[in-house]
Symmetry: C2
């Protein structure tokens, strides 16, 4: 209504680098991030802002000063995790054995999700957020190379395409919490099965990927 009403910058986190952010502010920002990591990892998206604030020993208001929205906080932390994935994918590219590199990446990816419920929820139920975070961290490129390399070496089945990766990671995302409740689950068994399914030569013929 008011002509000067300004939109909230659509969910972005408040700049962390700010030319001159007061020292206590930066300190609190870190505390919020750390608390957020822990709470979101434990309770997933259900984690409550108040819990995060309490754990950070800070008022809710402070949390909101740094992250205008719960989603903003979640996104920020998701971005962190994806950066980690991307880094790992790059490292894996250096592995002399392309298959081992690929497998290591998958293992890392699964284990991260097993320890971070929020991440696994994003992977499994929020394609939007996931796409953004993945793009933002440039995950696609190293993963594509990883796949191409392993296929050229003849160890990865020929019919998987880079676009399958989100799908695979989603499956992995779900598995961790499958049967039992403990954070320690049987995800490594599941991963083992999927990896064997990804080896060359393929037996089951896959339908063509849908855009």
């Amino acid at each position: 209504m008011n002509p000067v009403t300004q939109q909230k910058p659509a969910d972005q986190a408040i700049a962390a680098d700010a030319p001159a952010m007061r020292a206590d502010a930066r300190r609190n920002r870190e505390k919020v991030l750390k608390a957020g990591r822990k709470c979101l990892a434990d309770d997933g998206f259900d984690a409550q802002m108040e819990d995060i604030a309490r754990r950070a020993k800070v008022g809710v208001g402070t949390v909101y000063r740094h992250f205008p929205t719960k989603d903003a906080l979640v996104d920020a932390l998701a971005a962190e995790r994806f950066k980690g994935l991307t880094e790992k994918a790059r490292e894996a590219l250096d592995n002399p054995d392309p298959w081992v590199g690929f497998a290591e990446f998958m293992h890392y990816s699964a284990s991260v999700q097993a320890n971070d419920r929020a991440l696994s929820e994003i992977m499994g139920a929020r394609p939007e957020t996931m796409r953004e975070a993945a793009d933002g961290s440039g995950l696609f490129e190293p993963v594509s190379k990883l796949i191409a390399k392993a296929q050229k070496a003849g160890s990865l089945r020929r019919d998987v395409v880079p676009e399958d990766v989100p799908l695979l990671m989603c499956g992995l995302a779900r598995a961790p919490r499958g049967g039992s409740k403990g954070p320690e689950s049987n995800w490594e068994r599941y991963l083992g099965i999927v990896l064997d399914g990804l080896r060359a030569p393929a037996i089951t013929k896959l339908p063509p990927p849908r855009a």
Copy 2:
């Protein structure tokens, strides 16, 4: 406070068979069930009671008369689905080729989940409900036999145990909604990979299953 306060029968659906339920009541019950199926399939657990009521052309009160709680309704419908799975597993046992029978069961399981968001959410995020529904429908037994048979025939890897099935189904649950949003996703590709991973002989050694 009042000494005669009576507890709500802990989430059970109201008996459907009732000795003498009024005809319109039974009719409405059906309408609610049908609407519930559709809404839950589309929106998962987020489906709203009012939407269900509206779709059933009925008031919310009526929904609550038949199902004292949203969970009760969800449970009731989950039970239906699990009954279907169990039936399919029994049929699969009759297949002359144990591997084909097993694969068919997995395919059915995945496709049901691809078309029912609520079911896939239960599989992926509510071990409790899932366990109950599975036990209630006796799913475990035919599945165990299916596995044993396929292993004896030498087509299914030796190191999978019946307890892995929930895990596998969870992964399948997640995959459907992986990358894209459309109800039609690439789940069949994912299933193909997992099936190949389940074939004998195993390559990757799986860690022992955790209770």
